[in-house]
Symmetry: C2
Subunit: 364 residues, 2 copies
Amino acid sequence: MTEAVSRPTLEAVAARAGVSRATVSRVVNGGDGVREPLAERVRRAVAELGYVPNQAARSLVTRRHDAVAVVIAEPETRVFADPFFALQLRGISKELTAHDNQLVLLLTEGRDDHARVARYLAGGHVDGALVFSLHLDDPLPGLIHDAGVPTVFGGRPGWGDDGDAAGHTRSTGEGPGVVYVDCDNRGGARAAVRHLVDLGRTRIAHLTGALDQTSAVDRLDGYRDVMAGVPGASDPRLVVESDFTPGGGERAMRALLDRCPDVDAVFAANDLTALGALRVLRASGRRVPEDVAVIGFDDMLPVAMEADPPLTTVRQDIEEMGRLMARLLLRGLADGRDRSAAMAQPPPAGGVILPTTLIRRASA
Amino acid sequence: MTEAVSRPTLEAVAARAGVSRATVSRVVNGGDGVREPLAERVRRAVAELGYVPNQAARSLVTRRHDAVAVVIAEPETRVFADPFFALQLRGISKELTAHDNQLVLLLTEGRDDHARVARYLAGGHVDGALVFSLHLDDPLPGLIHDAGVPTVFGGRPGWGDDGDAAGHTRSTGEGPGVVYVDCDNRGGARAAVRHLVDLGRTRIAHLTGALDQTSAVDRLDGYRDVMAGVPGASDPRLVVESDFTPGGGERAMRALLDRCPDVDAVFAANDLTALGALRVLRASGRRVPEDVAVIGFDDMLPVAMEADPPLTTVRQDIEEMGRLMARLLLRGLADGRDRSAAMAQPPPAGGVILPTTLIRRASA
């Protein structure tokens, strides 16, 4: 087996499979036009010999790196502290691996590093990008747009139809070429607040998420939709701004109790915020749900189940959201290839909205 | 200001700074030979115009990407479940960001994906790699070696002086060109077990880490060093193999209580394993430390402090380990550049061993 000496070559694979070099090259580079039993023989020879195609040469032919960048617009410490991101990455990792694409997670210390991230994306190291946890005044979307990398966003981006990174103005984020996956934040929030109204609660508060993120804005809108329909229920003091973290939830809940000690229900923008609120309510001697009912958002497990009491919450399928983002991107890249274009096409534009479900446990 | 129209060019920067294109190019590409007031003027013009160097063209000149890959030889789920990795990444992220290098984390579902990781490393997307949590039978070190990427390892790699990926044979891992950062695993283990002996314990058990990792092997060696010096103390039934996880710690502790119900001390290979052991000891009605003393390894915070009872453990500075790995790699890359070589040199070979300290809390 002379072909096993040092690194196996394309020739060795061809000899082992009994096919031409051109056929091996086509199979290895993911090209079509090779019949299945033959292609299978080549793949077996590749596996047996441990052949590694020359990546640089291969990229020149295919213009593909079989690598997808993931950018989370949060500092590295937050990425590892919030299980939301681990869940989303799990879905992305499974989907990319199933298609033999490398997950390239670009970590940062903060927003100052986003120009460097954009440089890396523009540098031709990945075929596309999955970007999530965007903030409205972040230059990242504009930088990514300039980098010309096919991108799918997690969560509706916050800029307008003209594709500009907008300020704090409300916009649909459904501009041309913008592809995103989101959950029904507004509908989920409505279901939560309606449930609190149905329980007979009259002083229903909302601890918001970070209001420079569309998910937080949409959940606040859902809260307001329901409160506007209940005569005498609306009171601006019942809305306290927070930031999607347990510590932020604690601070917001303390501020709320100061302002409105008669509060009898809390809709928290996510489960981590609800955890913080539960701690402060317990410390203040209030019983949940008897004195104050609490609802979260996400159904983050095991957090929501192991809360004391177990948390009523709005479930979204975070892992599936990640999987779907990856699937949409890979499909767009494959479409580009099928059209025999050397450059990948961006995925078809538009938003995919996943449903949410109210999960009743003990807290409301 | 015509130069601000569309993307600013190198020429525009040169005009604004009143220098030649070559001077701008040298400053932008980090080259030396430009005097400081001049270089500062160029940097100011770059900042004022928001000039982004063409990465591809720049890489052709410098052969640098200002990007460093991090490879953790564990499935993605484990990377996010074990705080050890988050701490190490924190140190790496801080150091790379301080030098404006992009952290590129290559995630996998498991060992089957390591060939793909090696292809990415070989593809010219990063300047170097930081690799940790290696397992002895993993082909990754060999693949990385073939990829020819300057690499610093976290933890002593398990292969011999000939540079081959070895099986389960003990070896120093200090082969030519191998650079690693580790902590004094053996010395730390000795201090822990000696402390248990000093407490008068006579039936001292060890729950090992994953024995295909050198850190686990070295801690077991440290345990054996001390036990061999205490007449009548050694008993092979007191060593139970585990895997560095809380679930593994539970299973190992249960097996140990079945085998040796008279055990009066446990040295666990890390804090997570100790947590699992504490749970099983509590469920069995044994008091810690009165009936069984327990010591962990890592001093993972807040895990070790919040354990019940708070955990006596061997502290290593995990974040500093990450920072040092990044620093050694960047220094090696810079040395390569200073020698005006187009290709970066690998960092100087050898191992850096960080000290460990026994931290006494309530559990032993």
